[in-house]
């Protein structure tokens, strides 16, 4: 663990991760207060966010208005996948989703300001433009998940039931790692912020559909290379009793925490490397 030092005035200096959390809380609180100034506008944007993010599920409903199953999966089963992915993505989007302003900050030089402040840069950039309206995605994802949990035909065991919150937390961590890695990439690529969307938003869309509808090589890619499959596909296939299209080592359905941990560690390394390679625009 990080050792804490005793400062001259007797107060203990916080360990670095606590310091980061504190900075994150302060900055996020500031953005929340500023958005609450215009209450009506805030309510409208929350509702709007709920509707925009709900479009993905509306698409699924539209599809199921014409068919009874997709790749052999029923509507409640697809809703289960969707609810898990959307809620997990919603959490990471709320916590770190404003990272795409990093590119702008680098271009206009205001990133330099963050570097000289006495708080971890990742916490500052994560909380930058913190937007509570993003609760919209979590809300609608949670609603769909609630429906799926009731409607899906599963013999619930304690293990399967416990997997649901585990998937949400690990899924959020995996998506969060993507956001951080994407931010590191932005330091190098600046204008190319949109590449990140292919993995975050694209990944979220992808995970809303059963793995069997995708090509084997594609599934291999998102299982072993970019392990998005551990957000929901692999553990949810186990919960639903559906065979996974690939042969996986035994216990893979419980591997999400490990995968999430590795992803976060790699993202952390990428972030440090990105930060080291940063050159100011000088403007």
């Amino acid at each position: 663990m990080v050792e804490s030092l005793r400062l001259r005035d007797g107060t203990r200096e916080l360990p670095r991760w606590r310091e980061g959390l504190r900075a994150y809380g302060l900055i996020a609180g500031m953005w929340v207060r500023s958005s609450m100034t215009y209450r009506a506008s805030f309510v409208i944007t929350v509702v709007g966010n709920l509707l925009v993010t709900g479009l993905d599920f509306a698409t699924i409903l539209l599809m199921f208005s014409r068919v009874d199953s997709l790749g052999g999966w029923s509507l409640p089963e697809v809703a289960f996948l969707y609810g898990l992915s959307a809620t997990a993505f919603g959490i990471s989007d709320l916590v770190l989703g404003s990272m795409d302003v990093l590119g702008t900050r680098i271009r206009d030089g205001s990133f330099d300001t963050l570097l000289v402040r006495p708080a971890p840069v990742l916490a500052q950039i994560g909380a930058d433009h913190f937007a509570l309206r993003r609760l919209g995605r979590i809300t609608q994802g949670g609603l769909v998940l609630g429906y799926a949990l009731v409607a899906v035909d599963v013999n619930w065991t304690v293990g399967k039931l416990l997997l649901v919150p585990v998937m949400l937390v690990c899924g959020a961590a995996i998506f969060g790692a993507l956001f951080v890695a994407g931010a590191a990439f932005q330091i190098v690529a600046q204008d190319a912020a949109e590449v990140q969307n292919a993995f975050t938003y694209g990944g979220n869309t992808l995970l809303s559909y059963p793995p069997v509808v995708f090509g084997k090589d594609f599934v291999r890619g998102v299982t072993f290379m970019l392990p998005l499959a551990f957000v929901n596909w692999v553990p949810a296939s186990y919960v639903l009793g559906r065979p996974y299209p690939l042969d996986l080592p035994p216990g893979a359905e419980f591997a999400s925490p490990l995968v999430a941990l590795v992803c976060c560690a790699l993202a952390g390394l990428a972030w440090r490397a990105g930060l080291k390679s940063y050159r100011s625009t000088g403007s």
């Binding site: 709007g48 509707l51 479009l55 539209l62 599809m63 009874d68 949109e194 869309t205 559909y209 509808v213």
Partner: protein, 266 residues
């Protein structure tokens, strides 16, 4: 300078402005390609379950996906073209300067948006479409006539897309902040233009409604014209009717706004 040359210069400016951000364009190409692949697989599963849904076979459904990815930025389906700039100018009061210019407001922005659309088409739209054609079985016509017919349909689609967003931008004269309108436009654009699912495949009365709305002119009709699913003249008539109606409404709203609304920031 002649009026024609002026607007041509504005359009060229719009083109160049977007062409400046090369990394962003490449990133957009990549993102559209990834989304295209994901959508293709889901569509194939859907059409596998229900062949000939919406009158398309699998190859046609795949073609629809890639045309959609190609037109996504070109027609600013999700918004984010000139209208954000115009809204900002109305909000800050800079619009007063624009109104003093010896150029027509609507034509000026139309020219600029046309330049943007041209670049987005060439720089960002064509590559995902080509990638799609390379890796998936598509139903592409081999005669020049169908492609020429598509070009006309796309031109009309650009006008309709502009018409919708110009109206949205002018609403700022009364609302002062465009956030809510932009959000509504985004939802309507994605859903009603057939970005999520071909409008032909929408069920029942909902299908009837979305196919009659102006957004149908943007992806659905160009796709049908390309694949010979509809009489091109019929499609053009629908697109042109909406284009005229929207542009006329824009002109009317513009004259009301500039006559009766007090400019911000005085």
């Amino acid at each position: 300078m002649g009026a024609g040359r002026l607007y041509a210069a504005v359009a060229a400016g719009g083109f160049r402005r977007y062409a400046t951000y090369r990394a962003a364009t490449l990133a957009g190409v990549f993102t559209n390609t990834v989304f295209g692949v994901v959508l293709v697989y889901t569509y194939l599963a859907l059409w596998d379950e229900r062949p000939h849904l919406g009158g398309y076979d699998q190859a046609e459904a795949v073609t629809y996906v890639w045309l959609g990815q190609c037109l996504y930025a070109t027609l600013a389906i999700q918004g984010g073209g000139f209208e954000k700039d115009l809204m900002e100018r109305i909000r800050t009061g800079d619009i007063a300067v624009d109104l003093y210019r010896p150029a027509d407001l609507q034509l000026w922005w139309l020219a600029s948006d046309f330049g943007r659309a041209m670049f987005q088409m060439l720089g960002r739209g064509v590559i995902p479409f080509a990638v799609g054609a390379l890796f998936f079985k598509m139903a592409l016509p081999t005669d020049v006539g169908s492609w020429a017919a598509l070009l006309v349909a796309l031109l009309l689609a650009v006008l309709v897309s502009f018409g919708i967003r110009f109206l949205a931008a002018l609403s700022t004269f009364w609302l002062l902040d465009g956030t809510g309108v932009n959000q509504a436009m985004m939802i309507l654009g994605i859903f009603c233009s057939g970005m999520v699912l071909p409008l032909n495949a929408f069920p029942g009365a909902l299908g009837e409604v979305v196919r009659a709305l102006p957004w149908a002119a943007q992806i659905q009709l160009p796709a049908d014209v390309l694949m010979g699913k509809t009489d091109p003249l019929h499609a053009y008539a629908f697109q042109a009717a909406w284009a005229v109606a929207l542009l006329a409404a824009g002109r009317l709203l513009q004259s009301v706004a500039t006559r009766r609304v007090v400019v911000q920031g005085g």
